[in-house]
C-alpha cells in the first residue's frame, strides 16, 4: 500500500511538471518508490526531482549513475556493491562519472548527435578542474552548476545555466567571501557585473546574447582570460573594436607593459557605458593614466576628444534646431532623416578611437560635421522661410482688409441708394 502511495505521488509530481512531463524511467525501478517515501530531507528530494530530469527523459535510471539493482525490493539487495552500487559519488568522482557518457561520442550520438563530448577534457583545463586534480574538493564540478537530479536542458529558462541565471549560479560560490578568500579570489564580481552594460542588456533589454560569466571565461573550461588574450575574448562580439585595437600602437605597448587589452580602459566585470570623456584629461580620463600631460599621446587623445565633442555638439544643435522648426509646423522630416548619417559618422568615429590614430577619427568626424552643418543650415533656411511666411501673411491680410473695407464702403453706398 505504501508503495502504491509512493508511486502515485511520483506520478502526481510528474503530472504537475506540465503537459510535456517526461516519461517515467524505463523499466521498473524501486529506487524512486522507496526514496520518495522516506521522510529524509537528504534522500527524498533527489528522488522527487529525478522524473523531471533530462536524463530520466532520455530513459536513464538512478542505477545509471549510482549503480545497484533498481529492481530489488530489498534495500540491501538494491544497494549491493557486487551489483555495482557506488552510492553518492564524491566531488572528485563526479566529472569522470558524467564523462563516462558525456565524453563518449558513440554513446552520446544515441541520444543527440549534435551534443558535444569535450566537456570533460575542457573541465580538466579549467581552474576548477585543475584545483580538483590537486585534491581541492571545494571547487565546482558538473553538479555544482547543472544540478544533480533535476538537470534541465541549458535552453530551459529554469535551468541554473540558462543565460538569465548563469551569473547567479556562479555567484553561489564566487559570491561566498570565505570560500573566495580561501582561494585568493575576489567575491564582489557578481555585484560588479550587475552594474555593467552587459547585465543591463541581458536583464533590461532581454538580450539573451549579452555576455554572462561563461561568455568570457568559458563554461566547462572556465578560467580567467590571459592578459594577451583579452582582446580576442572581447573581440568575439566586438569584432571591429578588437581588429582596430590590434592595428593600433596600443597593441604592442600594452603587451610590453603587461596590460590586458580592452579591460585596461573599459574594466572587466563592471563595464560601464563608454563616454568620450575617457579621452579627456578630466576625472573620467583613461588616457592620462598612461600618457603624461603634454605628451604626444595626450595631445592625440585631446584632439580625438575635441573632434568627437564638436561632432556631437553640432549634431545635437542641428537636431534641436530642426525639431524646433518641425514643432512650428515646418516640413523638415527629410533633413531630420539625413541627420541620422551624422549619428552614424559619430558612431564610426568613436569606433575609430580604438585605432588611436587622430587623423582617422578626424576623417570620420569631418564627414559627420558636413552633414550636421548642412542640417543646421537647412534649419536656418526653414526658419527664414517661416519668417517670410509670416510677413507674407500679414501683407496678404492687409490687402484682404483693404478689399473688405472697399466692399463694405460699396455696400453702404448701395444701401443708401436703395434706401
Amino acid at each position: 500500500m505504501k508503495h502504491v502511495g509512493a508511486t502515485l505521488l511520483a506520478l502526481g509530481l510528474a503530472a504537475a511538471a506540465g503537459a510535456q512531463s517526461p516519461p517515467a524511467p524505463s523499466g521498473a525501478s524501486t529506487c524512486i518508490d522507496c526514496h520518495v517515501a522516506l521522510d529524509d530531507s537528504r534522500i527524498s528530494p533527489p528522488a522527487k526531482a529525478f522524473p523531471g530530469d533530462v536524463h530520466a527523459r532520455a530513459g536513464l535510471t538512478c542505477a545509471s549513475c549510482h549503480g545497484g539493482d533498481p529492481k530489488a525490493e530489498d534495500q540491501d539487495a538494491a544497494h549491493d556493491a557486487r551489483k555495482g552500487f557506488r552510492g553518492k559519488p564524491s566531488p572528485g568522482q563526479i566529472p569522470s562519472l558524467c564523462g563516462d557518457c558525456h565524453a563518449d561520442a558513440a554513446r552520446m550520438r544515441q541520444f543527440d548527435p549534435k551534443l558535444r563530448v569535450d566537456q570533460l577534457s575542457e573541465y580538466r583545463t579549467s581552474g576548477h578542474g585543475k584545483a580538483l586534480a590537486k585534491g581541492d574538493t571545494a571547487v565546482a564540478t558538473c553538479a555544482s552548476c547543472h544540478g544533480a537530479h533535476g538537470v534541465l536542458p541549458v535552453k530551459d529558462s529554469r535551468s541554473p545555466v540558462h543565460p538569465t541565471r548563469v551569473a547567479q549560479t556562479c555567484n553561489r560560490c564566487h559570491g561566498d567571501a570565505a570560500l573566495m578568500t580561501a582561494h585568493k579570489l575576489p567575491s564582489d564580481v557578481y555585484a560588479k557585473y550587475t552594474r555593467s552594460v552587459h547585465f543591463e542588456a541581458l536583464t533590461k533589454k532581454g538580450d539573451l546574447s549579452a555576455p554572462v560569466c561563461n561568455s568570457c571565461h568559458g563554461n566547462h573550461g572556465a578560467a580567467p582570460p590571459q592578459v594577451g588574450s583579452v582582446a580576442n575574448v572581447c573581440g568575439t562580439c566586438h569584432a571591429t573594436f578588437a581588429e582596430q585595437f590590434r592595428a593600433s600602437p596600443h597593441q604592442n605597448a600594452f603587451a610590453e607593459l603587461g596590460l590586458p587589452g580592452c579591460v585596461t580602459c573599459h574594466e572587466n566585470h563592471e563595464i560601464g557605458h563608454p563616454v568620450d570623456a575617457f579621452l579627456s584629461d578630466g576625472a573620467q580620463s583613461k588616457c592620462t593614466s598612461c600618457h603624461e600631460a603634454g605628451s604626444a599621446g595626450a595631445r592625440a587623445a585631446a584632439q580625438m576628444y575635441d573632434d568627437l565633442q564638436e561632432l556631437e555638439r553640432e549634431t545635437r544643435e542641428a537636431r534641436l534646431a530642426l525639431r524646433h522648426e518641425a514643432e512650428a509646423g515646418m516640413e523638415v522630416s527629410k533633413v531630420e532623416f539625413e541627420l541620422a548619417r551624422a549619428d552614424e559618422a559619430l558612431t564610426k568615429a568613436r569606433a575609430d578611437v580604438h585605432l588611436a590614430q587622430p587623423a582617422v577619427v578626424r576623417r570620420a568626424t569631418a564627414e559627420g560635421l558636413e552633414i550636421a552643418r548642412t542640417g543646421k543650415a537647412a534649419a536656418a533656411r526653414v526658419r527664414g522661410e517661416r519668417a517670410f511666411r509670416r510677413k507674407g501673411l500679414f501683407l496678404s491680410l492687409g490687402l484682404i482688409f483693404v478689399a473688405i473695407t472697399a466692399l463694405v464702403a460699396k455696400i453702404r453706398t448701395l444701401d443708401r441708394r436703395h434706401g
Binding site: G329, M330, E331, V332, S333, K334, R389, R390, G392, L393, S396, L397, I400, F401, A403, I404, L407, V408, K410, I411, L414, D415, H418
Partner: protein
C-alpha cells in the same frame, strides 16, 4: 457683279460693324443677357435670419477653393504606396508655395465640412426643406455625404501612419453589414487589407468619381435654388418682407465672407501648416490614439460604446444599421415632416434634431480624450 456687290453689302449690315467692341461681338454669339437678366431678377429676402443665407455661398466658395488647390496638388502628387508620402513631402518642402496650397487644401476641407454642416443645420431649423423645396434638401443631404466621402478618401492620400491606420479602421466598418459587408470592404480596399491598391482606388474616387458626381448633384442643387428662390422661414413668412437684389448687394456681402475665409485659411496655413506625420508602415503596430477626421468621430466613438453582442447580433453590425437608418431619416426629413410642409411649426422635429446634434457633439468631445495610459 452689281448683284454680288449688293449681297455683300447686305451681309456686311448683318455683321457687327468693324468698330464694335469685342464684348459686343461676344455678346452676339453667347447671348449672356439672359444670364445677366436672371442675376438681376434674383432677389434675397431681408429678415433677421438673412445671415444664414450666406452659408450656402460660403460652402460653394470653399468647394471651389478645394477644386483649385486640389488641381494644383495633382501636378505633383503621385498615387502609389512607394511615392505618395514622398511626393507630398516634396510639395511641403520643395515646391514654391506648395506648403500653402496643401495647407489651404487641408484646412479648407475641414472648414468646408464645418460650413456644410452649419448650412444644413440652419436649413433644417429654418424649415427651408418644406414644399416645394424637398428636392433641394435631398440634393443638399447627398452633397453632405459626398463631402464626407471627399474627406474620407482624401485623408488616406498622404499615406502617413495616422491616415493609414484610420483608413484601416474606417474600411472595416462596412464589413459589419451581414452578407455583402465583407465584399463591400474588399471593394473599398481593393483587396483584403489597406495597401497601395487602396491608395490608387481612393485617389480615383477623390479626384474623378466624387468630383463628377458632386458637380452633377451640385448643378441640380443650384438649379433648384435658382428656380425656387430663397426660402423664407415660417416665422417671418407672413410678414411683408423686404428684399435686396442678389447682384450686386448680396453678392458683395458674400464676397466679404469669402475674403474673410481666404484670410482665415491663409493665417491657419502660415501659423499651423498641415502636418505630414510619418510615412505609413503597414508592418508596424498601430500607434495609440488612432482616430478618423473629426466629422466621423461621433460615429467612431458611438461604435466603441456598443457591447460586443446585442440580442445575439454583433453590436457593431447593429451600429452600422443604426447609422444607415439615421442617414435615411436625414435624407427623407422633408417627406416625413408633414407639419412644416403644411406651413405649421414642427417642434418635435426640432427637439429630435437638438438631441441628435448634442449627442453627436458629446461623442465627438469624448473621442478627443487621450486614450488611457497615453503620455500627456
Amino acid at each position: 457683279m452689281s448683284e454680288a456687290t449688293g449681297s455683300s453689302s447686305a451681309e456686311s449690315e448683318r455683321r457687327p460693324a468693324p468698330h464694335a467692341s469685342v464684348l459686343d461681338w461676344a455678346r452676339d454669339r453667347i447671348g449672356w443677357e439672359d444670364f445677366a437678366h436672371l442675376a438681376t431678377k434674383k432677389t434675397v429676402p431681408i429678415h433677421r435670419y438673412t445671415v444664414f443665407y450666406y452659408l450656402g455661398g460660403m460652402a460653394l466658395f470653399l468647394f471651389l477653393v478645394q477644386v483649385v488647390t486640389g488641381i494644383l496638388l495633382l501636378l505633383y502628387y503621385r498615387p502609389s504606396a512607394s511615392e505618395a508620402f514622398e511626393s507630398v513631402q516634396y510639395v511641403m518642402a520643395e515646391v514654391p508655395f506648395g506648403w500653402l496650397i496643401r495647407s489651404i487644401h487641408s484646412w479648407g476641407a475641414n472648414l468646408f465640412v464645418a460650413v456644410v454642416f452649419l448650412h444644413l443645420i440652419s436649413t433644417f431649423f429654418l424649415k427651408a426643406y418644406r414644399a416645394p423645396r424637398e428636392m433641394t434638401w435631398i440634393s443638399g443631404a447627398i452633397l453632405l455625404f459626398l463631402t464626407m466621402g471627399f474627406g474620407f478618401s482624401g485623408y488616406l492620400l498622404p499615406w502617413n501612419t495616422l491616415s493609414y491606420f484610420a483608413t484601416k479602421v474606417g474600411t472595416d466598418v462596412p464589413a459589419q453589414i451581414p452578407g455583402i459587408g465583407p465584399l463591400l470592404s474588399r471593394i473599398l480596399r481593393g483587396g483584403s487589407d489597406v495597401t497601395g491598391a487602396t491608395l490608387s482606388r481612393f485617389y480615383g474616387i477623390h479626384v474623378a468619381i466624387l468630383p463628377a458626381v458632386t458637380t452633377l448633384v451640385l448643378g441640380v442643387h443650384l438649379f433648384l435654388v435658382q428656380k425656387q428662390g430663397m426660402s423664407v422661414p415660417l416665422l417671418v413668412e407672413k410678414k411683408n418682407g423686404r428684399s435686396m437684389p442678389f447682384v450686386p448687394d448680396f453678392l458683395l456681402r458674400d464676397m466679404v465672407g469669402w475674403l474673410t475665409a481666404v484670410g482665415l485659411l491663409a493665417a491657419l496655413s502660415a501659423f499651423f501648416p498641415w502636418e505630414l506625420g510619418r510615412k505609413a508602415d503597414p508592418f508596424s503596430p498601430a500607434p495609440a490614439g488612432i482616430r478618423p477626421e473629426w466629422y466621423f468621430l461621433w460615429m467612431f466613438q458611438g461604435l466603441k460604446y456598443l457591447p460586443a453582442e446585442i440580442a445575439g447580433v454583433p453590436g457593431e453590425t447593429l451600429g452600422v444599421f443604426f447609422f444607415g437608418a439615421l442617414a435615411l431619416v436625414f435624407l427623407a426629413v422633408p417627406l416625413l415632416d408633414r407639419k412644416s410642409s403644411a406651413g405649421r411649426a414642427s417642434p418635435w422635429w426640432n427637439r429630435l434634431a437638438i438631441v441628435a446634434i448634442l449627442g453627436a457633439a458629446l461623442l465627438t468631445v469624448l473621442a478627443f480624450r487621450p486614450p488611457p495610459g497615453a503620455h500627456r
